[in-house]
């Protein structure tokens, strides 16, 4: 199982990376949406999960999710927005753009694991 963390905060990438690493994921990182697209294009096969911040320089998370959803070869990626944006209309916009889940910062490691469980990504990763 592979996960791509897209966040302009190095500290947040480290925190999320540790949670996902402990859950059995191989972790890749990108500092913004554009860099994340470049990482994806260079990969041999799509990752299982992408955790995406909303507000980032160069390309924001919503645009990144929209771009990923345009590409059939990346259709299998489960997209989770991980952001401080907490208004209902923001959540609706992210889901409409193609996000599968939405986790609002701040969050506990347990909350992230519960989201992965909802997405069917936890059992598979721990069974490997």
């Amino acid at each position: 199982m592979r996960a791509l963390i897209v966040d302009d905060s190095r500290a947040m990438r480290r925190i999320v990376g540790r949670i996902l690493g402990d859950a059995g994921f191989e972790v890749l990182e990108a500092g913004d949406g554009q860099e994340a697209l470049t990482v994806l294009e260079g990969l041999d096969g799509a990752p299982d999960l992408a955790c995406v911040d909303w507000n980032m320089p160069v390309m924001d998370g919503l645009t990144f999710i929209t771009e990923v959803r345009k590409r059939p070869e990346w259709r299998s990626i489960t997209l989770m927005m991980v952001t401080t944006e907490s208004e209902s209309d923001r959540i609706v916009r992210a889901l409409a753009a193609g996000a599968h889940e939405y986790l609002i910062k701040p969050f506990t490691g347990e909350a992230m694991l519960e989201k992965l469980d909802l997405l069917g990504l936890l059992r598979t990763s721990t069974e490997v």
Binding site: E101, L103, I104, P106, E114
Partner: protein, 278 residues
């Protein structure tokens, strides 16, 4: 600072007598962390002084506060997920076939801060077979404080992050300042009442489904047996009982049998025992 053995023993006996919850040795930290806010609020320098005063005065309201502080737990939405999948995919559709009055009665027996009963209602709303049905949900808890919270239906950002799908959040909740409040249409479907599981149950009618998850683990064997026996008496003969993953009826009350339901399992009264509860 740690709680003294005398204070711990007093609290343990009090909680045991009032709720039948057993606080084993090693739970001193839990007791102290839960009682520090009460001690401070009552003007005592530490938990030992607070408990010493409590044991001297034995004010019923103060004793009740201590029991409540030690019997409430944080919980998440759709906790453990599998029981709710079983409810939507197996239990509700099966009941929908056999109930001609299009009414289901459900009891959530240790509802804590309300996530479980509200999760049950949201699951019923997502079950096509129950469209247009009347769902009567009675949710009970020992703690009045928890019941007040549950009735309000307001949860922090951290709480709605716990196991609640984003689609469900935007569909069934509205912002209330920094918090989220579950919609009135769901709140008004739940009847919250105070109930001590270890005492005789008040008249509640009979239930098609009972949720009694992660509460029996705190009771000793005779209390577990007594509670399970009385639960049989408030269930319809072909009802379904959900227990926590670490709980079972085997060797406790063998009038129940465990049957698979999706990836989870439920407990049902054995056929030969069903006439006994009619």
């Amino acid at each position: 600072m740690t709680i003294s053995p005398q204070a711990f023993t007093f609290v343990r006996e009090l909680v045991r007598a009032e709720s039948a919850i057993v606080l084993d040795t090693g739970k001193e930290y839990l007791v102290e962390s839960r009682l520090v806010p009460l001690a401070r609020a009552a003007g005592h320098p530490d938990v030992d002084a607070y408990v010493a005063d409590l044991s001297k005065r034995r004010t019923p309201a103060a004793l009740k506060l201590v029991v409540e502080a030690l019997t409430t737990n944080e919980t998440s939405w759709f906790r453990d997920s599998d029981p709710f999948t079983a409810l939507r995919q197996a239990v509700f559709p099966a009941l929908a076939k056999t109930r001609t009055n299009r009414t289901l009665r459900i009891w959530a027996g240790a509802c804590s801060s309300g996530q479980e009963p509200y999760s049950i209602i949201m699951t019923a709303l997502d079950t096509p077979e129950l469209a247009g049905w009347k769902i009567e949900l009675v949710a009970t808890d020992l703690s009045e404080e928890m019941l007040t919270r549950s009735r309000k239906g307001e949860y922090s950002q951290l709480e709605v992050n716990r196991g609640l799908p984003a689609t469900t959040l935007v569909r069934h909740f509205e912002r209330a300042g920094l918090n989220w409040r579950i919609n009135q249409s769901i709140r008004e479907r739940v009847d919250f009442r105070q109930l001590n599981l270890t005492r005789p149950f008040p008249p509640m009618g009979r239930f098609d489904v009972v949720f009694l998850r992660n509460v029996l683990i705190y009771f000793d064997l005779p209390t577990k047996r007594d509670v399970l026996k009385r639960v049989r008496q408030v269930m319809v003969p072909d009802g379904h009982l959900f227990l926590g993953a670490a709980e079972m009826t085997m060797g406790v009350d063998d009038a129940w049998e465990r049957v698979p339901a999706g990836r989870s399992s439920v407990y049902r009264i054995r056929e030969e025992q069903r006439t006994c509860v009619l």
